[in-house]
């Protein structure tokens, strides 16, 4: 299995930038707890599996850009999106 750094790094970067913008306002009644993010991660792994890798990519059965984007969003939310 070969890991191509291009989609992994760029997908993570854009996901991280957008993840840092996820902020819940204190007066809002909306609450998205960790369960919501866990479900999103599970669903996105399923979506990434059915999307499959790009043509000529041999980095496993998942869409690597998609997975790195969701990881970037979650990490961005956890680090700066509070």
């Amino acid at each position: 299995m070969i890991f191509y750094t291009g989609p992994l790094v760029l997908g993570f970067l854009l996901g991280f930038i957008l993840g840092t913008r996820i902020k819940t306002s204190p007066e809002s009644k909306l609450k998205f707890d960790r369960e919501v993010y866990a479900i999103v991660v599970i669903v996105s792994i399923i979506v990434a599996y059915f999307l499959g890798p790009f043509p000529y990519y041999k980095d496993g059965p998942f869409a690597s850009g998609f997975v790195s984007a969701i990881v970037g969003i979650i990490i961005g939310k956890l680090t700066l999106g509070r």
């Binding site: 070969i2 191509y4 750094t5 291009g6 989609p7 760029l10 997908g11 854009l14 996901g15 930038i17 957008l18 913008r21 996820i22 902020k23 819940t24 306002s25 809002s28 909306l30 998205f32 919501v36 479900i39 999103v40 669903v43 996105s44 979506v47 999307l51 790009f54 043509p55 000529y56 990519y57 041999k58 869409a63 850009g65 998609f66 984007a69 969701i70 969003i73």
Partner: protein
């Protein structure tokens, strides 16, 4: 908006955003690209803003954030073009591929996108175009919703 929409839209918009990022990253090898992926990401953001409203939306897109992101996209495109002009004499020359063989190997290695296809700077151009498009489309909706709120307050 109904409670069902408010429950489902935020998680689904995250999936749409990831799909948009994946479309941008595969722009040089599959259908799609910077504009299409950026429009998909903007669609995810707009979905949230329309359903939750500007104040309650989980995505807090401030003016400064949008302006700096759009500037970064435009600057990235210009810098890639000028790099081609500087190293080869042609604006937007694909330094990573170097079809004419006029660029040093070290420069070619820097600008080549690391994936199995020898695409050079094309994925980077897709990326910066995607950033610009996502900001442009979402800024239009934010401006319309903001002006609507101001207008509504004035009417009352």
């Amino acid at each position: 908006m109904s409670i069902i929409l408010k429950l489902f839209v935020f998680p689904i918009s995250l999936i749409i955003i990831c799909l948009g990022i994946n479309t941008i990253l595969g722009g040089h090898i599959t259908p799609g690209g910077g504009f299409q992926g950026g429009a998909m990401i903007a669609g995810g953001l707009i979905f949230c803003i329309v359903v939750y409203g500007l104040k309650e939306s989980p995505f807090k897109l401030s003016h400064n954030f949008l302006a700096s992101l759009e500037s970064a996209g435009a600057l990235g495109f210009v810098i890639l073009g000028l790099a081609g002009l500087f190293f080869s004499g042609f604006y937007l020359y694909n330094l990573g591929v170097d079809l004419y063989g006029i660029v040093p190997v070290a420069i070619q290695a820097i600008f080549n996108y690391p994936d199995p296809i020898n695409a050079g700077i094309i994925p980077y151009l897709n990326y910066v175009v995607g950033i610009k498009v996502l900001v442009g489309l979402s800024a239009v909706v934010i401006a319309f919703l903001g002006s609507d709120e101001v207008h509504g307050e004035n009417k009352q």
